[in-house]
């Protein structure tokens, strides 16, 4: 058994930064609390660097519970790479807040849980990672201690607790019939197990992961948290935890279930179809940009479930999922960064944005067109691979439905883009750090699209 802690160096970097931040936060005076954010950012940057180096090495298994393979590498890079701008965004907004240090630490812990979610290859570790990713996020949702925030946190918590218990029940059942909790053991054990028990266990296990992914039926928290929580938190919880959740879902489909044991592809394809349709239809009538983005993330979760459904059926499924999830995280966070920078939640607040602040307006247009899937942004390449995976897996109807949904999504994204082009510009003083983050993320989204060859090759 490989027990080399260096294999988990990126995670340890983040853990260390979180602990250091927490300790430092206790002793530092109120005016010096910004140092905690700096420590956290440094930890994330170090973790990102180590993860990039680790991605060049061959895959392995650590502690019999974590797989270090391309899925984990991408999860790490995407999570740390998107958490870093969140910490920067938060540092600007939270400056001088009474609980400034706790904020950064909670974000780090949630990000750590997300990575473990994607890397775990044992159901018990998966449950632990689920809790680590969820509990800091509940606290973050209610961080503002205001009415909408409290409601959002409560809804988020109740939903998460309920679906988490279901997930635990599913793990128990699978453990019982599969005689093991590690993915490898389950793959051997589940083949001979009774089909009904495997089906019930898998569906219950899915419940928790779909909650983290923000997909139907675990999507009810998404709009409320996105609208009620502080904007930075909304940006974080609708983006980062999904990365780990989709990686974990993919592993269940590809590594846990033996072929033929359970109708994985039809079930997940159905969930994907319902999720994308519901998310896109619900986004139509939203006038609050954060609710609009929330439903758009539900729709995107539907597209992301397509390669998950094709896990093990199509060779394109893995690159499709990994590329799409990373591209989605960058682009969605970019859109949220614009919202943070502008500081307005109503669509009317974006009238004339392109004139008031060309940099911010261009970032918004790039990110929203990116979410539509317009080339040459990163999401386009992800979507292309997603369509390819669906067709390769002989799910042409799912590809067609995803295409129809993409067209429908244009409608509400344009409702946001069009006012930005015209009209008299409202006076605007964007937060500097948020502006830089928004522009940087839009640029990365474009660069990932044009330079996708380099990224996909590795």
């Amino acid at each position: 058994m490989n027990e080399n802690p260096a294999d988990l160096a990126p995670e340890l970097c983040v853990l260390l930064a979180a602990v250091l931040g927490l300790l430092a936060g206790m002793f530092l005076p109120r005016a010096g609390q910004w140092r905690v954010a700096a420590v956290c950012a440094a930890g994330l940057a170090a973790a990102l660097a180590v993860a990039l180096v680790a991605a060049t090495r061959p895959g392995l298994m650590a502690f019999d519970a974590f797989t270090v393979d391309p899925v984990t590498h991408v999860t790490r890079i995407a999570v740390f790479g998107t958490t870093l701008p969140v910490v920067v965004l938060a540092a600007g907004r939270m400056r001088g807040h009474p609980r400034e240090s706790e904020f950064s630490v909670l974000i780090l812990l949630a990000a750590l849980g997300t990575v473990l979610l994607g890397a775990s290859s044992d159901l018990l570790v998966l449950v632990a990672a689920y809790l680590l990713a969820s509990i800091p996020a509940y606290a973050l949702a209610g961080f503002g201690k205001d009415g909408p925030g409290t409601e959002a946190a409560l809804k988020y918590y109740l939903m998460g607790a309920f679906l988490g218990v279901l997930m635990l029940a599913g793990v128990t059942l699978l453990y019982g019939v599969g005689r093991g909790t590690s993915y490898a053991a389950l793959r051997d054990g589940l083949g001979a197990a009774p089909g009904a028990a495997v089906a019930v266990g898998t569906v219950a296990l899915l419940a928790g992961l779909l909650f983290k992914a923000g997909a139907v039926p675990g999507h009810y928290w998404v709009p409320d948290v996105a609208e009620g929580a502080p904007p930075v938190v909304a940006a974080f919880v609708t983006t980062v935890p999904k990365i780990g959740a989709f990686a974990a879902l993919f592993r269940i489909g590809a590594e846990v279930l033996p072929p033929g044991a359970f109708a994985w592809a039809p079930l997940v394809a159905l969930v994907a179809a319902v999720t994308m349709t519901l998310g896109n239809l619900a986004a139509f009538a939203q006038d609050n940009v954060r609710r609009l983005l929330a439903y758009s993330t539900v729709g995107q979760a539907g597209y992301l479930l397509v390669p998950v459904a094709m896990a093990g059926r199509a060779a394109l499924a893995e690159p499709a999922l990994l590329y799409y999830v990373a591209a989605y995280a960058v682009t969605n966070l970019g859109a949220f960064a614009v919202v943070v920078a502008v500081g307005r939640d109503d669509l009317a607040g974006y009238t004339g944005l392109l004139r008031a602040s060309p940099a911010l307006g261009t970032s918004l247009v790039v990110c929203l067109l990116g979410l539509v899937g317009t080339p040459p942004t990163a999401v386009f390449v992800g979507k292309l691979l997603m369509f390819g995976a669906a067709l390769e897996g002989h799910y042409a109807w799912l590809a067609a439905l995803a295409a129809a949904n993409s067209v429908a999504s244009v409608f509400y994204y344009l409702r946001w883009i069009v006012p930005a082009f015209g009209g008299p510009a409202a006076p605007l003083r964007p937060a500097r750090s948020a502006l830089v983050v928004a522009v940087a993320l839009a640029a990365v989204s474009l660069a990932l699209g044009i330079g996708s060859g380099l990224v996909l090759a590795t």
Binding site: F380, L384, F387, G388, A396, F421, S452, G453
Partner: protein, 500 residues
Amino acid sequence: MLTLVIFLPLAAALALLAVPRPGHRAVLAVWIAATAADLALVAAMWARHGTSGTGRIAFETNARWIPSVGAGYHVGVDGLSLPLLALTALLFAACAVYSLRQTYRIRAFAVLFLFLETVCLGLFAALDLLLFFVFFDLSIVGMYAVILLWGHGDRARSALKFFLYTFLGSLILLLGFIGLYLGADPHTFDMAELIRRPPLEGSPGLAGLTLLAIGTGLAIKTPVVPFHTWLPPAHTDAPAAGSAILAGVMLKMGTYGLVRIAMPMLPDAWRRYAWVPLAVGLLSVLYGALVALAQENLKRLVAYTSVNHMGYIVLALGAAGYASGDAAARRLAVTGAVTQMVSHGLVTGSLFLLCGVLYDRGRSYDLGRYGGLARGAPVFAALTAVAAFASLGLPGLSGFIAEFQIFTGAIGGGSTPAAVAAAVSVLGILITAALFLRVLHRAVLGEPGELTGRVTDVRRPELAAVVPLLALSLAIGVAPRPLLDTIEPVSAAVVALVAR
């Protein structure tokens, strides 16, 4: 050199954006200089390629882009793309000159048109399906912004309809491309590879579905009846230069895709379902002409004649799919189709620019409110008459050369359905002739209408934009050989590829 041709306008656009607050004249100077330089480069390319091409790809560049999915930056030109590249460069230069008097947000306008020029040139030069699609999709975004920001009338609605409809088409097209990709062994998006070894040869059902996806996607862009409903509002509410580009260049993307992608890559399916393009082509010809006849709005009328003209192209390509008959006749039909693309770009581009002149003076396209324009605006009246005659296919102008070849090719091919369709579609010419004569009678001749007094004659920039287009149409009509010599090797190759 080809890469320079494609990205020169984009570089000029970025330069315009980089300079803080450039003057109005400076913007126009850069815009016109960039399009003129690009036109000169394309002309030089054509001169080096020669008019008696061998049908092989020239000026080829093949760089790695996304090797893991077999997509590359692969561009090149042959006798099919060269005329369309030249048409694109010419029309964009004409639009730049035409917009000399434009003042509203001129820098953004110039940047957007330069961006669109890169996109259109890139599309006609692309030899990789993914690259083709990237340019295809970007053209929609660019044109959407043009209609939305510089249009008139109910522009937001028209622009949205245009975006949603053509975006749907592009996604269907993408699904078709992925079908080709997955059908090829090894998987690739490279057009040259896909043409060399047509994918999906063993499975006619999947090939048919792929052709259905690609055909539908391109049919929406072309557009053919019944997918044409986005076109009239988009044209009516777009600015004149935008309409000229949309009709002159962007509609060709659909038919170009049919010749470049659908026919050589899915030859078997194309032959089997050749009656479909034949039928929708015929339907577009007749329906477009009849609806145009009923229009009171001049710009809508021109838009519907576009449906009619693009219908001839689709019909000719369908006729080329009947492999039983005479190959020489089928080559003639394909050559005619490509010539029609060029001719329609020149003629309809100038017609839309002339519509823009009328709107600029009278703020209306209503035919009933004009009349007797020949007295106050003789040059305008003369140009409109020439453009109308070119559009209805008068001998001596480019439309005749194109349509004559299409009819001869389709009827002489030896297959009964193609011959019947072509014979019936001659009716379309009759109707177009009637409707253009009606336009000339009501607007140019006759009693003065309520807005006639406002219509002053064409100004110099407008003249400089329209005259070269019509002069070229005349040149092609009188001496078509250089153009036909360039196209013929490619049409021979396409016909041979379809027949295999």
